[in-house]
């Protein structure tokens, strides 16, 4: 396939993200990467579970966490997962405008989530004097949740740069895999969050 064909496909195939060898590679490579990320987060979860009682006299999970904010954050992130599905749906229908809109919504929801998280951390640090250094529990908590937050931030910047870069040109076989893979990443972030709200917050509350 010539480079022109890749940038300006004469006809969009059914799965534009997997139409070229590069696209197929990207698709597969990214899934594999997510397999590795699974172990990465499992190690962090394991560490958290091992240390969640090690409060060294500081506040415990039960005393610290409030569920209202976490619930809102969960809803934000879950919804953003759906909106990114919409974006890919429109990508497959070769409808750039709608795709960008939905990606935009996704990014907005993501930033809202991130805002909540920052607010939450700020509250713990300044309101409760619960920091990264207070105890092994503190270290484990901020590391696990912070790693997830870092992933969210990276995802947002990534999707944003894709939006800006491709705003003025159509969907083609070169950028379709990029959008697709970014959306996979976004879903994976959501998967991790499902476990965070369950294991960290809900189980922390149950005790």
């Amino acid at each position: 396939m010539s480079n022109e064909d890749v940038l300006n496909p004469k006809r969009m195939p059914h799965e534009p993200e997997k139409a070229t060898l590069e696209g197929k590679n990207k698709f597969l490579g990214f899934w594999f990467f997510l397999g590795g990320e699974t172990v990465l987060f499992a190690s962090l979860f394991g560490t958290y579970l091992a240390l969640n009682d090690s409060t060294a006299g500081g506040p415990s999970a039960d005393e610290l966490f409030g569920l209202e904010l976490v619930f809102i954050m969960t809803m934000l992130l879950l919804t953003s997962s759906l909106t990114s599905v919409y974006a890919i749906y429109h990508m497959k229908n070769n409808d750039l405008g709608k795709m960008l809109v939905w990606l935009g919504v996704t990014v907005a929801l993501g930033f809202a989530f991130l805002g909540c998280e920052i607010y939450e951390f700020y509250h713990y640090i300044h309101g409760e004097h619960f920091t990264f250094r207070s105890s092994a529990f503190g270290s484990a908590f901020y590391t696990l949740v912070g790693f997830h937050g870092g992933h969210v931030l990276f995802g947002l910047l990534w999707i944003l740069s894709l939006i800006i870069r491709n705003a003025k040109r159509g969907i083609n076989l070169y950028n379709a895999p990029k959008f697709y893979v970014a959306s996979l990443y976004w879903h994976f972030i959501d998967v991790v969050w499902v476990f965070i709200f369950t294991v960290v917050y809900l189980m922390g509350k149950v005790g």
Binding site: T47, A136, T143, Y174
Partner: protein
């Protein structure tokens, strides 16, 4: 861009070529040279260790320096010598064996190399910047978290960066093998080296994240005051042990499996027989990879996990002997009935069998949990793992280098010098390490700066040290051979050994696009299949056409440079917060490069059919 890099090149152009290359064959050269240098460095450190232990109560080097030496020896050998040398082989061979023109992600391939190099250089900078890490290659907390100075910081940052490179490399090879095989090359027709690389890459994918997390925790504890391993704030030092070994045990199979694959190819080629029990070999490789994840705690029998956990891990560990045994016997029966040619590559492979069997068997002895209460952390363990690592991995690397040298550099290594490399190394190896089993049982713990007089350990240590000199001699002969071959030997033909697999169907060294026409694979050992039907080479699977090639790029190098700079920022910001600026500069460079990579279209170029026709030949 499309016309390949200028033909007549000065040193500058040559350097630029290698800095920007995304060609897997050149990346293989890069891995080989840097891995080789690190091997010499690690070997030098080993020599210093052996000189210190030559006689009792020796003061050749100080206690602190000894600990740095043994830590750096282990770390360098595993992460900076063995791993990259394996990656050199993977890069040089896998795409050729599956009939591909390049790897799936040429850009990432280059990035992986530069990250490894950046990490390795950072680690070794510690020597000149106030002391190397000194907590053992296992870096158990809290010795590592409380170790004064910056030594362990270099360990943490260096391994983190090098590890990221390895992870990228692993994913790259997985996708390459899944997606880029030539038509007809089904999974069950892949050469065993490729199979082994596939399983190894899977292990990398699942093992390295655990190390990444472990290193992050250690980094946070040392640099940002967190309390993961600080027992006074509720931390738990056992977490590090688990994270390290969840990575560490699979790591030793990451080291050995590719060479198991290489040995399979070598035995088969030089016995002129197809591999005995091919499907069993594949199955055993997969099984070893799988079991490799369930045994890590056999390094922790004396940690105190309790008899239940110890028993479980003892039994799972022993189970690995079964698939490994399947391999040993299949190799033997590959040679059975064959016509064995005793080339240097074959010599190393043949020496591997008894050596590795001994190492594996001492492994099973170690796996016997209760008995490990005696063996653990003694020279018995040192003997075990050098038998498997040197006898398996290093022998394997030497065998593979002799075997694939013509494919990598276009010349067959000199056979006489090859044998002169082998014999001293082989004899020296057994001299050094066989006796160490007994030293261990006689009560000599490992990581001992000194042993005292009157404990009956003198003779053994002396013999052991003498052996190390033989190994050094062998290594030096190898270096001489490399130079001699480059200068004196003649150009090698495409298929100097009457080979069986696809890499031997193209010129030595191959053109940058590897295969002018993708070959059609019609069975296991595809080239052999064609040859046995009287054909000269492979039948193409496609008509001659344009070849799509990736563009070179300096970005991987710059990205790694960014992390290199940021690494120093992280290490020194503990002393003075101003160093944080380096973190921002370095991360800025790296993230900036990522942004450029993401927004700048990079579609590669095409080598045109007409140009290919002009080249003619082959």
């Amino acid at each position: 861009m499309s016309t390949a890099v200028a033909q007549k090149k000065g040193f500058g152009a040559f350097l630029w070529d290698y800095l920007t290359t995304v060609d897997h064959k050149k990346i293989a050269h890069l891995y080989l040279v840097s891995g080789g240098l690190f091997f010499l460095l690690g070997g030098l450190e080993a020599m210093i260790i052996r000189i210190q232990l030559m006689k009792p109560d020796n003061e050749f080097i100080s206690a602190g320096l000894y600990n740095e030496m043994l830590t750096m020896h282990g770390t360098t050998m595993i992460f900076l010598a063995a791993m990259p040398l394996i990656f050199a082989l993977m890069n040089a061979v896998v795409p050729l064996q599956i009939g591909a023109r390049d790897v799936a992600f040429p850009f990432l391939n280059s990035l992986g190399f530069w990250l490894f190099l950046a990490g390795g250089v950072i680690l070794n900078c510690s020597w000149f910047m106030g002391g190397a890490p000194d907590a053992g290659w296992t870096a158990y907390a809290p010795l590592s978290t409380t170790s004064p100075g910056h030594g362990v910081d270099f360990y943490v940052i260096g391994l983190q960066i090098a590890g990221a490179g390895t992870l990228i490399g692993g994913i790259n090879f997985l996708v390459t093998i899944v997606n880029m095989r030539a038509p007809g090359m089904s999974y069950m027709r892949m050469p065993l080296f490729t199979w082994a690389v596939f399983v190894t890459s899977t292990l990398i994918l699942f093992a390295f994240p655990a190390l990444t997390v472990g290193l992050f925790l250690m980094m946070f504890d040392r640099m940002f005051g967190s309390a993961f391993f600080d027992v006074n704030a509720g931390g738990n030092v056992i977490i590090w042990e688990h994270l390290f070994w969840i990575f560490g045990h699979p790591e030793v199979y990451i080291l050995i499996l590719p060479l198991f694959g290489a040995f399979s190819d070598i035995f088969s080629t030089f016995s002129k027989k197809r591999l005995f029990g091919y499907s069993a070999m594949v199955f055993a490789t997969v099984l070893i990879g799988f079991l490799g994840f369930m045994v890590w705690a056999h390094h922790m029998f004396t940690t105190g996990m309790g008899p239940v956990a110890n028993s479980i891990f003892a039994v799972t560990t022993m189970a690995i002997a079964v698939p490994t045994g399947i391999k040993i016997f299949n190799w033997l029966f590959t040679m059975w009935g064959g016509a064995i040619r005793m080339t240097t590559a074959m010599l190393w492979s043949i020496a591997f069998i008894p050596t590795f069997t001994i190492g594996g068997m001492t492994g099973v002895m170690l796996a016997s949990a209760a008995a490990d209460y005696q063996y653990h952390d003694t020279y018995f363990v040192v003997a075990h793992f050098h038998y498997v690592i040197v006898g398996g991995v290093v022998f394997g690397i030497f065998a593979s280098l002799h075997y694939w040298w013509p494919k990598m550099f276009g010349k067959v290594l000199n056979e006489k010098l090859g044998k002169l490399t082998f014999w001293p190394f082989f004899i020296g190896f057994h001299l050094t390490f066989f006796i160490q089993h007994f030293l261990g049982l006689m009560g000599m713990p490992r990581r001992y700066w000194k042993f005292l007089e009157g404990q009956g350990l003198e003779t053994g240590n002396m013999i052991s040290s003498i052996g190390a000199f033989f190994m050094a001699f062998g290594t030096i002969v190898f270096l001489i051979n490399v130079v001699y071959t480059a200068v004196k030997e003649e150009k090698a033909p495409a298929d100097p050994y009457d080979g069986r697999t696809l890499e031997w169907s193209i010129p030595s060294p191959p053109p940058f696009y590897n295969f002018k026409q993708t070959p059609l694979v019609r069975g296991l050992d595809p080239l052999w299949v064609e040859k046995s039907e009287g054909k000269k080479g492979m039948t193409p699977a496609e008509p001659l056409g344009d070849i799509h090639m990736p563009n070179s790029s300096i970005l991987p190098f710059v990205m790694s440079l960014g992390l290199f700079i940021a690494g120093f920022g992280f290490i020194y910001q503990v002393d003075n917060i101003a160093w944080l600026s380096l973190v921002f500069i370095g991360m800025g460079i790296t993230l900036g490069c990522m942004l450029i990579r993401s927004v700048k279209d990079d579609l590669g170029y095409h080598v045109h059919k007409e140009d290919l026709e002009e080249e003619g030949g082959h």
